[in-house]
Symmetry: C2
Subunit: 344 residues, 2 copies
């Protein structure tokens, strides 16, 4: 794996490495003819500066690290596509790591990316992360971090989120207007920002329509490992309530499909017995049985905005503490899984 270096060029052309370096960077203090000589030779030999040497020298890498819970999830893979499209155009490379919703892996990934001198970090928190010191320390050392989707409350920086409150409000309202009254909410762990925001929207809608909030209709499910069992147990509990729900609002890809699987196995008829609205970016919502009413997050756009903010932070370190939190509108698409009860 021998590659050509500046030193080789210098030797071949009988120049010093400094001259070659400057010629390649088109410095004004180099004779145009020498420049041409060097550039042509470099071109011919297909010279590429060694980014590792540059990183070592400058302590930067022109790359940004992305830490997300899980790639195998449409929301996150769209997020990545958004991130990559912008980063690529701005000359940054994107290095992706999965936390698999584990705190330890999140910390390990963070450390590795930092040791690799990424210029900044884009993070969506693992669902099991409650301790944030690993990020706080880095921010104090001046590493730019932008959070997206699953963001922490106690860290001051740019954040990009979906308007979870409104999305959730609209979903719940839609179910109410479709004639449902006993609306359950299957959601993520309580210490995630998205959980509390969505819960708030759900509650507000119930309140606005004069429906009493019933805690037993809300189930918080861990992600990770044994999702199936988790789901099944939670749903089982819902279905065996004295007054079982006539609608369910699920808060993620996994929870939604998990819920539908359980309903399918148990022979629960959707939407006749229970209506479903999913807060999910699943790509085949229209092909499901029945087609699924979804609240979609603008994942691509969220990724794009987050990376823009991050790169701005990298290139113009902020004096003032004017951090913004951008909240992007969700899109509800109504399909059969939540049609009105009047049909029955």
């Amino acid at each position: 794996m021998e590659t050509i270096t500046i030193k080789d060029i210098a030797k071949a052309l009988n120049l010093s490495t400094s001259t070659v370096s400057r010629a390649l960077r088109n410095s004004y203090e180099i004779n145009p003819e020498t420049k041409k000589l060097v550039m042509e030779y470099a071109e011919r030999m297909n010279y590429r500066p060694n980014p590792i040497a540059l990183s070592l020298k400058d302590s930067k890498s022109k790359s940004i690290g992305v830490i997300i819970p899980e790639i195998a999830n449409h929301f996150f893979s769209q997020l990545i596509n958004g991130i990559e499209s912008i980063a690529y155009n701005l000359g940054y490379h994107v290095v992706i790591f999965q936390s698999h919703d584990s705190y330890e892996r999140e910390v390990a990934n963070t450390n590795y990316l930092v040791s690799r001198r990424v210029d900044g970090l884009l993070v969506s928190l693992a669902s099991l992360t409650t301790n944030l010191v690993h990020f706080q320390e880095l921010m104090e050392k001046g590493l730019p971090i932008v959070f997206l989707d699953r963001v922490p409350n106690d860290i001051e920086t740019h954040k990009v989120v979906a308007d979870n409150f409104t999305g959730s409000y609209e979903a719940t309202e839609h179910l109410i207007l479709s004639g449902r009254r006993r609306i359950a909410h299957l959601t993520s762990p309580i210490y995630l920002s998205i959980t509390t925001e969505r819960l708030a929207g759900y509650k507000k809608a119930l309140e606005d329509y004069g429906i009493a909030f019933d805690e037993s209709y809300v189930k918080y499910c861990l992600y990770g490992g044994k999702i199936e069992a988790e789901n099944e147990a939670a749903i089982e509990e819902l279905l065996t309530l004295p007054e079982p729900p006539d609608a369910i609002f699920t808060a993620s890809d996994r929870l939604t499909t998990g819920c539908m699987s359980v309903f399918q196995r148990k022979g629960v008829r959707v939407p006749d017995e229970v209506a479903i609205v999913g807060f999910t970016n699943i790509s085949v919502a229209n092909l499901l049985n029945p087609p699924l009413t979804t609240v979609m997050q603008p994942a691509m756009e969220m990724g794009q905005q987050a990376v823009e903010l991050l790169i701005r932070l990298i290139e113009h370190p902020q004096k003032n503490d004017l951090f913004e939190t951008r909240s992007l509108k969700t899109v509800m698409t109504i399909r059969e899984s939540s049609v009105g009860k009047t049909v029955v």
Copy 2:
């Protein structure tokens, strides 16, 4: 972002950097007491060796590059999970890049990864890649590369694939045994290995059951950009044939869901009018309408085996040219989308 270096430790302890370095690597020639002193101090200050400096010095990085067409695809994200699980345990980091099925991006990603001194490459070819010199040159320079899923014919190295021929044969056979005779095949570009292998299995099954092969039943679809339009046009052609197919065997996630979308829009009844079997790892096959018969690739396992082969190649550069091509069995799951015609 100041981090502690070996130099800082040396200064603090009044030693030379060489002594510190050796102490940290537990060299026999260092006084046990000095060692202890250094190690404790390093521990206390949370010292981590700078991997960039090491990469520069040794021209290796303890990381492997992965180039795949698209993350937002269950097959590939499971592949990644398989790769990561093994690589992580063996002390390697995984850097993921998407080619988005573009030849140019594949080349760009390759160059970048090489310049970053990855120790090896795991590649699933972009569907638009026909020229392989960028990989061939690297292999000649000694860079270990293992291909998986979409593998090239003309490069000698380890490869890991699904048994596309048999998987395809079984799918086709299943359709035949379900009473279908006019079986279409919607597949990827012809110059991909997976395309020809699957086509061969399809043809063989037809032949074995005495059904004439009809080229007009086979449609090759480009990936990338305008998938929808591509799909729709191809399917339109199939449906308007003098003898339209009564079954369709689709060769990828995208092709399968695209096909189902078109059928849904056009009101084509599945499986009554046309049966579908998809060569896909889509996770919600059972939730689709109708539940989809699938031939699944053992994605996780393919990733694991590929990375094992790669790391073996990295750590024990091969003398002999005994490269293996591992072919892993696919799993067919029969669901309603392909039930027998006798039902009608």
